[in-house]
């Protein structure tokens, strides 16, 4: 590249701030990484049997899986909010010994292989599990039920919500809460009228992430809940099952999951871009 053309490129950016200069070679691995993500997505879109797409996606087993997935992912997102927001409050606002250890434990499902999570759930809540006697007394059977799907999804998705909520709480700080207290607001009122509204955008993106993670859950679900059509066979399980018998159906359903993921990512990023208060 000649000096003149370099100067020309610089001129086109006149008026823009000058960023830190990057060595040119950095763009090569960066591009490779981007291709690694993009090429498979393009490949799967290319493989879709478009004329039969509608028919494949609306077959009875597909619809059952789709319905179950939406139902369980919604339920587990609700569970994540119910359990995760108080956890985030304790982690962000609490001060007691062992807090750091506690945070590590809470985030463990994030790094744990989902199959291991499912196995762990099975040995806690399964028919021969740790809590089996108690569950038997209550007459509750969890393993291999829709409830098990929700539990498995909540287990893996909870850290996403806790992380987002805790981050939002730390960013919001406590200054509004302190002023609200001096205005006479009891702690309960401060929580519902000040803290939660302030972190609502953070909670929303956390909930969206948790929903996406629940929707994509496979390993823990299969291990703990099995694969019963209409009861525990969610969309990812259906995709995996159809992969052998009807690859076209698998691809069509996979595309549905890709579409949901794109919507989720755009939704969360868009929110971040606008900047939450």
């Amino acid at each position: 590249m000649s000096r003149a053309s370099r100067a020309g490129r610089r001129e086109r950016r006149a008026g823009e701030p000058v960023g830190g200069a990057l060595p040119a070679w950095v763009h090569v691995p960066a591009a490779a990484g981007l291709l690694l993500v993009l090429v498979p997505l393009v490949a799967i879109v290319a493989r879709v049997d478009w004329p039969r797409f509608g028919e494949l996606v609306t077959s009875p087993s597909s619809l059952a899986a789709l319905r179950l997935s939406l139902l369980t992912a919604t339920a587990s997102t609700a569970c994540c909010l119910l359990l995760g927001v108080p956890m985030a409050l304790v982690l962000a606002r609490g001060s007691f010994p062992g807090l750091r250890v506690l945070r590590s434990v809470v985030l463990l499902p994030l790094v744990l292989p989902p199959v291991v999570g499912g196995l762990a759930l099975l040995y806690a809540l399964g028919r021969r599990g740790l809590l089996a006697p108690a569950l038997e007394v209550l007459g509750v059977r969890i393993a291999f039920s829709t409830a098990a799907v929700v539990l498995a999804q909540t287990f893996v998705a909870l850290p996403f919500l806790v992380l987002s909520a805790e981050g939002a709480l730390r960013t919001a700080g406590q200054r509004h809460e302190r002023v609200a207290a001096t205005l006479g607001a009891r702690p309960g009122r401060v929580l519902t009228r000040v803290t939660l509204p302030l972190v609502a955008p953070g909670l929303a993106s956390g909930a969206v992430l948790a929903f996406a993670r629940s929707l994509g859950e496979f390993g823990a679900t299969l291990t703990f809940a099995g694969s019963l059509e209409g009861v525990t066979r969610t969309l990812p399980l259906e995709v995996y099952l159809q992969r052998e018998s009807d690859p076209d159906a698998a691809v069509a359903l996979a595309l549905v999951l890709v579409a949901v993921s794109v919507v989720v990512v755009v939704g969360v990023r868009g929110r971040e871009g606008r900047g939450s208060p």
């Binding site: 302190r178 205005l183 302030l198």
Partner: protein, 357 residues
């Protein structure tokens, strides 16, 4: 009251209805003091009582008391208005009354009344993000006062505002705190500030904090004209002349006229203070004549060396004045206590501000 980790040990009182200004360098313990008063921080030892009710007691023998922030009747107004972004201005002001048990209707009425009092009635429906800095701070003042606090804490309330908004907010605070027309005035006010104008406009008394201790205290005039602490001397060290504002200056109680630039919002006839920098005062052995409108015959009472300058203190009737002149000028004029000299100041070097009291 002590807070050992932050190195604070102070003993202060605010008489009912008065405004105590707390001055001090950064890190002197001003914020710690406010946090302790608001109940947001537990002291290591000490006692805080408000209208005879013990709010905090710690360290000494006897029972520990820490009334939580929401039951103290102590409202806090910070540098940042900290309005709740999801509520309208009116709902922000109504938040306090609603929190303390007022009905929806009563809270709304009180909010409307206080928004009018701070000149923000027309902003009631706005969200905080659509308010300017000065508007937001006025709404925050209304919000703090709508709780009918028995003690109001002001933490540098004008420090984050731009030069046009600060005087406006200061005027509003002056009206609501000192105007006397509001029956719901707070019982007492503690004002933390760096700004001399805040002290002049709002305060009855001053306490200077330094290294967590009260370095000096007294009424405003005394501390600002005869500062004993280095900090007060640094921000003050100014000549202050109190009196009543006129159209183009100020008239002191003994009738001396001081020509100066009068602030907007300082009505003629109202209590005011003329402020001038002693370095702007020229000292002449003989009446120089000429254009400067402030010429005072002064008897020198004292000469103080101040680095490269000499502070010439003197009296003009009952008024105490001082001027900073160079060492060379002082030597040349052979100034000595007892001399009769003339102090000369341009009217443009004198600012006249509305004053407390």
């Amino acid at each position: 009251m002590r807070h050992a980790p932050r190195g604070l040990a102070v003993d202060l009182d605010v008489p009912p209805g008065e405004v105590l200004a707390v001055l001090g360098p950064n890190g002197a313990g001003k914020s710690t003091l406010l946090d302790l008063l608001a109940g947001l921080l537990r002291p290591t030892a000490g006692r805080i009582a408000l209208d005879g009710r013990v709010l905090t007691a710690a360290g000494a023998t006897g029972r520990e008391v820490l009334v939580p922030a929401h039951r103290r009747g102590v409202a806090l107004l910070a540098q940042d208005p900290l309005l709740l972004p999801h509520l309208s201005a009116a709902d922000n002001v109504a938040f306090g009354p609603r929190s303390t048990g007022a009905s929806r209707r009563e809270a709304r009425e009180r909010a409307a009344r206080w928004l009018d009092a701070v000149g923000a009635g027309h902003l009631a429906a706005r969200r905080p993000r659509r308010l300017s800095g000065g508007q937001a701070q006025r709404v925050a003042i209304a919000r703090a006062l709508a709780t009918r606090p028995r003690l109001l804490l002001l933490d540098e309330p004008m420090a984050a505002l731009d030069v046009t908004a600060a005087p406006e907010v200061r005027r509003v605070l002056r009206e609501v705190l000192r105007g006397g027309q509001h029956p719901e005035r707070p019982g007492g006010v503690v004002l933390v500030t760096h700004d001399l104008l805040d002290v002049l406009a709002l305060a009855d008394r001053v306490a200077v904090l330094q290294d967590g201790r009260v370095a000096e205290r007294g009424d405003v005039h005394e501390v600002l004209t005869r500062p004993r602490s280095a900090f007060a001397a640094g921000i003050a060290g100014l000549v202050l002349l109190t009196g009543r504002a006129t159209a183009d200056g100020l008239r002191t109680a003994d009738g001396t006229l001081v020509a100066g630039l009068v602030d907007d919002g300082c009505p003629p006839g109202g209590p005011a203070v003329a402020v001038l920098d002693p370095a702007a005062v020229a000292v002449h052995a003989a009446d120089p004549g000429g254009s400067p409108r402030n010429r005072w015959r002064v008897t020198v009472t004292q000469l103080e060396p101040r680095g490269r300058a000499v502070r010439v203190r003197g009296r003009h009737g009952p008024l105490e004045l001082f001027a900073d002149v160079t060492v060379e000028a002082a030597a040349e004029a052979r100034l000595a206590p007892g001399d009769e000299v003339h102090f000369v100041v341009k009217a443009t070097a004198v600012r006249v501000h509305a004053a407390g009291g």
